[in-house]
């Protein structure tokens, strides 16, 4: 909501018509004879070779899957193989003009794209660059098996390296491009500009946008291509990615050289089927996918349909579209028409299409046609082409033999190193800044109005006499988060932040107030209301080497970014074989007062997914220290905040919240108050209710409670809690999440296992009810209250003299509620 953009009722209410320009469809019409002025004979032969290589590679996998052998070599591959037989011209045409600075992202059906882009990169790189790349990948682990017995040029070695690295990856071998942890649907190799392929349909539709954002914001060379399928155009995150990529602000509000569109091509590999659903005529309504561009922005995304059965038509389109992108008029949408003869996967009986249809496309096969054209033009004889084919068959056979040889291509040694994958889940690095250059800011930090204002705040909530300061004077939780973030903006030039109303407004809860003044548009901006794209683009941004703080406002909106948070963000570090890092700090705020869809604590969802770090600080000292740690690290952190306590001053850290930089290690719970009789372990803002409960226990029942604030959920050091339970023998676990399946239950169960012999009663969980969150007026019946904690102790742990309970924590009530599912 920039003030400089005036929305004039007179102008927007005027009658008129939107006019669309025609969307070109298969307009390329040059013959190979005509194209010989643009391509040398060698170029044309290379195009044939690359298509043929992909065809043989995929055919080999198909035979391995359905017959268990290829060319006399037997192998059982239990994993997936989504093949692109028939789509080779589209892949080679796409990759032909791209340099290693251009990144491609793909889908589950991307073996062909990996090979096409890899072969194109090998053609462009010199021997020295290739040797360097091959030698340094996992210290030569992928190269070693290939280089043994290799005779010939470095380029031919690189081709073998590409085939072997991809195939070993598909077969889950340690020597694969990603140590075998990505596999067929996720294989990639960044030194050749091949970025992750994605097993979730449309998964690359927002991640690639983030990569383009990284290139733009950090002034990197190259463009980004998102290879996604025609059926993925129905996926919400793809639309969200497109919406994000075409925001007006790139051309309207971003300043100087930042003005202009993203260097991005959404490349629809349109094979006309989504599994068994036909996208034209059955499951979609666009008819021709290029039509989509017309509705997105005024440029219509420069959309057009290209005949992906002719590699030269695709190359022609890429040459023209790159020019537009260099003029900062991106992004571009291409609808590259193609067809797969192979099924969705080898278990697909193709019951949804006729034999005649498959045969008609096979009759128009791009490789056969292109080969015939080469012969007609006298560029190659039949014998020459046959020789190419034979060489390819031989090298693919070689690669298969090598990749299935357990001696040279072993799987990861999980037997002797059973925690090997565990050790790869997090990168655990500590890095001040991801690039060494001056961060772009609008003024020195000390001139920032918010920073100036904070200088006068009280950093401990009580004065020397122990009297509380007035609320307005306190340095509060939102200030702690702000201080850590602005500090990092002045340290790390790659850091950017965005989300809904992050700029101008300063975020819905005023955490970013003052940041707008400090930062240019491209480092802090408002995103569309597209949680999937907010998180998805952050993933792409981080993958390419940037640090980013996306914010999705309410915790309840996590579901809107479900795939991104649960399937993408946590997995890429390990799935890449630790090639990628994921320095993303996702800010998520747990609400209250706003009812059923704005008040839920979903920490358990985040904590359940391996690969995410999860923190939930609720004091200014912890908020600043944990945000500092999150921003210093290289792992994805889900940073939970609570709207109930943004205004809370520092009650615990008597020295006050330090003005300078400090870190609180993620994973360490904190004893907020010492006690001997019962331990209360809290997650989130319930800490303050636990403190009230401790006061009741001490005043009325002469029991001293030890209060531990979990602060982090993943990782979590149980030792602090076990030590406390050894002392007290009793524990209550409490927090705002609905009890069933909550992280509170996880804590209780683990504590029981680790401290069983020290327990005087089973740990008791006091969470929210398993209901919708009611209106604010009824919240005290839903969220845990101090009195509930006392009730639970009385009924389940230690009967208290004369205590009257308000909530039924009895075993029979627990049985009965569970039986009813509430």
């Amino acid at each position: 909501m920039p003030k400089n953009q005036y929305i004039d009722p007179k102008s927007v209410r005027k009658p008129g018509m939107i006019e669309f320009r025609p969307v070109p469809v298969n307009q390329y019409n040059r013959t190979i004879k005509e194209e010989r002025t643009r391509y040398s004979d060698d170029d044309l032969m290379r195009i044939y070779h690359d298509m043929r290589m992909i065809r043989e590679f995929e055919t080999m996998l198909n035979l391995i899957k359905i017959r268990g052998e290829y060319n006399g070599i037997a192998y059982n591959h239990p994993g997936p193989a989504h093949l692109s037989i028939g789509q080779e011209a589209a892949a080679v045409g796409m990759a032909y003009t791209l340099s290693v600075d251009d990144f491609i992202f793909g889908s589950h059906r991307s073996h062909g794209e990996i090979l096409a882009k890899g072969l194109s990169a090998i053609h462009q790189l010199n021997d020295e660059q290739l040797s360097q790349i091959m030698r340094s990948h996992f210290n030569g682990a992928t190269l070693r098996p290939v280089a043994t017995d290799h005779k010939g040029s470095v380029k031919s070695l690189a081709v073998k390296f590409l085939l072997y690295g991809t195939l070993a990856e598909i077969f889950a071998r340690k020597t694969g491009f990603n140590k075998g942890l990505g596999g067929s649907m996720h294989a990639f190799f960044t030194p050749f500009g091949v970025y992750p392929n994605n097993a979730i349909v449309g998964g690359s539709g927002d991640i690639a946008v983030g990569a383009a954002l990284f290139k733009k914001v950090n002034r990197k060379k190259g463009i980004v291509v998102a290879n996604i399928g025609d059926a993925s155009m129905a996926c919400g995150p793809v639309w969200e990615g497109i919406s994000f990529a075409t925001m007006d602000q790139f051309s309207e509000l971003w300043d100087g050289d930042m003005k202009g569109g993203l260097p991005l091509i959404i490349n629809i590999m349109n094979n006309q089927y989504g599994m068994g659903g036909q996208t034209c005529g059955e499951t979609m309504g666009y008819g021709i996918a290029a039509r989509i561009g017309a509705g997105v922005n005024e440029d219509q995304m420069h959309a057009e349909r290209v005949d992906g059965y002719n590699p030269l038509a695709v190359i022609d389109a890429y040459v023209r579209k790159r020019k537009l992108i260099e003029e900062k008029r991106g992004p571009v949408l291409l609808d590259v028409l193609t067809y797969r003869y192979s099924g969705h996967s080898p278990s697909d009986a193709s019951s949804y299409r006729s034999k005649e249809e498959v045969e008609a496309w096979e009759a128009a096969d791009s490789i056969a046609w292109f080969g015939q054209e080469l012969i007609n033009e006298g560029i190659a004889s039949e014998e020459v082409l046959q020789k190419v084919d034979e060489e390819i068959t031989s090298i693919v056979s070689w690669a298969l033999k090598l990749a299935i040889d357990d001696e040279v291509s072993p799987h990861m040694d999980m037997k002797n190193q059973p925690d090997l994958i565990g050790e790869m889940m997090f990168s655990n690095e500590s890095i001040d800044r991801l690039e060494d250059r001056a961060p772009e800011v609008n003024h020195p930090m000390e001139e920032n109005p918010r920073v100036k204002q904070l200088a006068s705040k009280e950093r401990f909530a009580f004065d020397v006499q122990g009297k509380p300061h007035s609320k307005i004077k306190n340095y509060v939780v939102r200030d702690g988060i702000f201080e850590a973030i602005i500090d990092r903006f002045y340290k790390d030039p790659t850091l950017i932040a965005y989300g809904e109303e992050n700029r101008d407004w300063g975020g819905a809860f005023a955490v970013y107030r003052g940041l707008t003044e400090a930062l240019p548009y491209h480092r802090l901006f408002n995103s569309p209301i597209s949680e999937a794209a907010i998180v998805g683009t952050a993933i792409g941004y981080a993958m390419c080497g940037g640090r980013v703080v996306p914010e999705i406002m309410y915790c309840d909106f996590l579901g809107r970014a479900g795939d991104e948070v649960f399937n993408q963000l946590p997995k890429w570090q390990a799935m890449s074989g630790n090639v990628l890092k994921m320095p993303v700090v996702l800010r998520v705020s747990v609400g209250s007062k706003y009812g059923a869809q704005h008040s839920q604590d979903w920490t358990a969802l985040a904590a359940h997914i391996p690969g995410l770090k999860v923190v939930f600080p609720v004091t200014p000292y912890d908020a600043k220290g944990l945000m500092n740690s999150a921003l210093q690290g290289t792992d994805p952190v889900i940073f939970f905040e609570s709207q109930r306590v943004y205004d809370m001053g520092e009650l615990f850290h008597e020295e006050g919240v330090p003005e300078g930089y400090y870190e609180i290690p993620i994973g360490e719970p904190d004893v907020k108050r010492r006690g001997n009789d019962v331990t209360i372990l809290s997650i989130g803002a319930t800490l303050y209710r636990a403190l009230e409960a401790a006061d009741i226990l001490s005043e009325k029942y002469n029991l001293s409670a030890e209060i531990i604030d979990a602060r982090s959920l993943v990782p979590f050091n149980y030792q602090t809690v076990i030590d406390s339970v050894r002392k007290t023998g009793r524990i209550v676990v409490t927090g705002d999440a609905s009890t069933r399946g909550s992280f509170l239950r996880e804590l209780a169960s683990t504590i029981t296992e680790l401290a069983f012999d020290y327990l005087d009663a089973p740990p008791v969980v006091v969470g929210s009810r398993n209901w919708i969150t009611p209106a604010y007026e009824l919240e005290e019946y839903f969220f845990p209250q101090a009195s509930w904690i006392v009730d639970a102790i009385h009924q389940r742990i230690l009967p208290l003299n004369g205590h009257q309970s308000s909530i039924d924590f009895s075993e029979s009530a627990q049985l009965e509620r569970n039986a009813r599912g509430i």
């Binding site: 005087d760 009924q795 230690l798």
Partner: protein, 426 residues
């Protein structure tokens, strides 16, 4: 040559298919591309075409049979051709159902039933009772549902003679917590106050324990000690330190780096020490893969520096520093920690003032050098003049199975000579 018809595999999860129908009968002529048979998986039904021309000579399965994928189900060849029947693969067997009945131990938790019913007691209270010698069967619990809890054992043990049951003490309906007075408020649970902490071994500790124990059990180790004149070492150290501080060199080259450098030079001359003892053969390394002991928070780590003999003193210092750093940060490549990764190991305790020690060999390596602190020792400076010279102690443990005393001594003396004659061109 007849060709078998196989049951195709449709996806990896499919182990068997149901044969639908044969479109051809035995004896029929078959052309490649003809529909031959149908089959189904749990997901879908398929038609299979013939892959070769000829006559359907035999079929091995009938419609409705469950057939393992890739099994031969028929044969196509020339009419009258002789053929051998394949071994029949049995179709999936169903395991026999077990008729074992789960045993449930019945017991009542009702405190009022008395008798020999199971006693409800918290783990903490039971542990306290055992430790204090309290017969908890006589106690009456004051916890939820009459569970005996810690306070019941505690109050019994504090006042055994006048022990009253919880109900006598607190009344049947009104249960109050124990009255805390100055004397019985205990900062920690009196019974379970820890006399020790049980700490599970970390994985790295377990590994170290295993390999050290194995080393001493499975080899014939003994140690020779001698010392080398350290004057050159110390003067180079002084120079390197100054050069590093003024930025003339990029590495802060330490005494350890120089000792390692000397060791590598000696190893090149004594290949039998740069080796693994494999029982019936020796693996003599062509390159020096130098292992060196690094003390980390998580325990001892011995990373290997591959091809250490290719490095200059600066390179060596840099690489040793990097590896040690990786060990401490915990991001060391685990392959480098494998004892087989190194051909020889150096363990330096000189920094800690250790004067003499017997390092333990990292099997299958054949020896390990312990480096001790530098001590001034009297020495004949020539012409009958005696003075104190700083000497660095060297302790070589070797596996007598692989090396003899003479060889080991010659090697150790050579290291000393190398240390005494270090030359670095700046």
């Amino acid at each position: 040559m007849a060709e078998f018809v196989i049951m195709p595999r449709q996806g990896q999860s499919v182990e068997t298919c149901i044969l639908g129908q044969w479109y051809k009968e035995v004896g029929d002529t078959v052309k490649s591309g003809d529909l031959l048979f149908s089959y189904e998986t749990d997901k879908a039904a398929f038609d299979e075409e013939a892959k070769s021309d000829g006559v359907l000579l035999a079929i091995f399965y009938n419609p409705g049979d469950e057939v393992p994928v890739l099994a031969n189900i028929g044969l196509i060849g020339e009419a009258g051709e002789e053929f051998e029947l394949p071994e029949q693969q049995s179709s999936a067997e169903t395991p026999e159902a077990s008729d074992e009945v789960a045993k449930v131990i019945e017991f009542s938790l009702d405190p009022d039933q008395g008798g020999d019913e199971r006693i409800r007691i918290s783990p903490l209270a039971r542990n306290m009772a055992i430790k204090l010698g309290v017969d908890y069967t006589v106690l009456e619990g004051t916890g939820p549902q009459g569970r005996i809890i810690a306070r019941d054992v505690e109050s019994y043990s504090l006042n055994e003679k006048s022990y009253k049951t919880g109900r006598e003490l607190y009344g049947p309906d009104e249960i109050s917590p124990i009255n805390k007075t100055e004397s019985n408020i205990l900062p920690e649970n009196i019974v379970l106050r820890q006399e020790y902490d049980l700490k599970p071994l970390t994985n790295i500790r377990k590994l170290i324990a295993k390999s050290m124990h194995q080393s001493l059990q499975n080899s014939a180790q003994l140690t020779h000690h001698l010392s080398a004149d350290a004057r050159k070492l110390l003067s180079y150290r002084k120079k390197f330190k100054a050069d590093f501080q003024t930025g003339k060199i990029s590495e802060n080259i330490t005494i350890n780096d120089m000792v390692c450098y000397a060791v590598i030079r000696s190893l090149k001359k004594f290949p039998q020490v740069n080796a693994h003892f494999m029982g019936d053969q020796m693996k003599i390394f062509r390159k020096v893969n130098l292992g060196f002991a690094v003390d980390t928070d998580r325990g001892l780590m011995v990373p290997a520096l591959k091809d250490a003999d290719d490095l200059s003193i600066g390179g060596l210092s840099n690489q040793l520093g990097k590896l040690a750093d990786n060990c401490r940060k915990g991001n060391i490549n685990p392959d480098l920690l494998n004892p087989e990764a190194a051909s020889f190991t150096v363990s330096n305790l000189g920094n800690y003032g250790v004067e003499i020690f017997t390092p333990v060999i990292n099997l299958p390596q054949t020896a390990i050098l312990g480096v001790n602190t530098i001590i001034p020792r009297p020495m004949d400076l020539g012409d009958g003049v005696y003075g104190f010279v700083p000497m660095i102690g060297l302790s070589l443990t070797y596996d007598h199975r692989a090396l003899d005393g003479g060889e080991a001594t010659r090697f150790l003396s050579d290291i000393a000579r190398e240390i005494e004659n270090l030359v670095f061109v700046s």
